[in-house]
Symmetry: C2
Subunit: 150 residues, 2 copies
DNA sequence: CACCTAAGTTCAGTTTCTGGACGAACCATC
DNA sequence: GATGGTTCGTCCAGAAACTGAACTTAGGTG
C-alpha cells in the first residue's frame, strides 16, 4: 500500500492519517495552534527544508485544514490560518500533548500549560462520552461496523 | 532538523510525534486497538512491506507502547499487546477517528461505530476540561510556558 | 544602487521506503 | 524423510521522499 491509497480506505483513521499523519504536518499544526501563521515563521521554528514546508502547507490548504489568506498587497503576502475543519483538530493535538506530558515530561514537568479561560484553571483534556458524559477508557468501548463500512 | 532530533525538543507534541507520528505507526496502533496482535496480521491487514512492520513494532516496543509477549514455545512466537502507556493513546486514536468521521465520512456515514459499554450508547468522544468538566474548544484555551520549558 | 524581506522553486546528494526473495525454526502429512 | 505450511523475521536493489543551499520574484529601505 502507498500513502495515497490510505485516503481511499473505508476507515476514518486512514483517511485522517493521509492528511495529518506525518511528523512535519503534526508539528506545523502544533505551531498553527500556537498562533504561527507565516511561511517564514514555520520554517524558522521547525528548522526543516523549505520544500517540505511548501508541500505540507499546500496539502493542508488543499484539504481545507488551513486557509491561505493575503494580509497585504504590493507585494502580495499570505498567511495560513486554521479553518473550522482545522480547529476541529484541537482534540487530536491536545490529546497528543497530554500523552507526551504524561509519558515524556522529565522531572521538570510539562513544557506548556493550558488554561481553560471559561473556568480559569490549568487543565488536562479528558475524553468523555457524548451520551452519558462519563470519562471513557479503551476497555469500555466496543467497536462494530457502521453504515459506511464496506 | 532530523526526525531523531524531535525527541529532544522541549515540547510534548514533538516528543510524542517522534514515537507515533508517522502514517504506518498510527495505522498499526489503530489495528492494535481493534485487537490485532500478531506480526502476520498487521502485515496482511496493512499490506505494507514487512521491513516497515518490523521497524515500527520494534520502535513501539522500545518505547513501551507495545509489549512483545510469547504466546507459545517450540517454536517461540510472540504477540504484540498494548501496554498501559499504549492504552493511554486511546484518546489520540479516538479523536483522529472522530475527526475523520466528521470530515471524510461519505453519505454512507462512519465506517465504524463505537459503543460505550458503561451506558450502552453509540458515542462520539468529547474533550472536556479536567477541572470544570465542560467541553473545551481551541478558542477557550490559553497556552503559556510550564515548568518543563527551556 | 546595494541590500533587505517574504514566499517560494530548483537541484544534486542523501536517507528512507518499497516489494519481493530469502532464512530460520518448528509442525503436519504423506 | 521429503514436501509443504506457519510465523516472524532479514536482505537487497530500485523508487520515493527529504535535505541543505542557492536562486527567483516582487517589491521596500537607505
Amino acid at each position: 500500500m502507498k500513502w495515497e491509497d490510505l485516503a481511499d480506505q473505508p476507515c476514518s483513521i486512514a483517511r485522517s492519517v493521509a492528511v495529518i499523519g506525518d511528523r512535519w504536518t503534526l508539528m506545523i499544526l502544533r505551531d498553527a495552534f500556537l498562533g504561527v501563521r507565516r511561511f517564514e515563521a514555520f520554517q524558522t521554528r521547525l528548522g526543516i527544508s523549505r520544500t517540505i514546508i511548501t508541500a505540507r502547507l499546500k496539502l493542508l490548504v488543499d484539504e481545507g485544514v488551513l486557509a491561505k489568506i493575503p494580509y497585504q498587497d504590493r507585494p502580495v503576502r499570505h498567511e495560513y490560518r486554521l479553518t473550522q475543519k482545522g480547529l476541529d483538530l484541537y482534540p487530536v493535538v491536545m490529546s497528543i500533548v497530554h500523552w507526551g506530558d504524561r509519558h515524556y515530561a522529565g522531572d521538570a514537568g510539562a513544557p506548556l500549560l493550558h488554561r481553560h479561560k471559561t473556568c480559569g484553571c490549568d487543565f488536562a483534556p479528558v475524553m468523555t462520552c457524548s451520551e452519558c458524559h462519563a470519562p471513557v477508557g479503551a476497555r469500555e468501548v466496543e467497536t462494530r461496523a457502521g453504515p459506511g463500512a464496506v
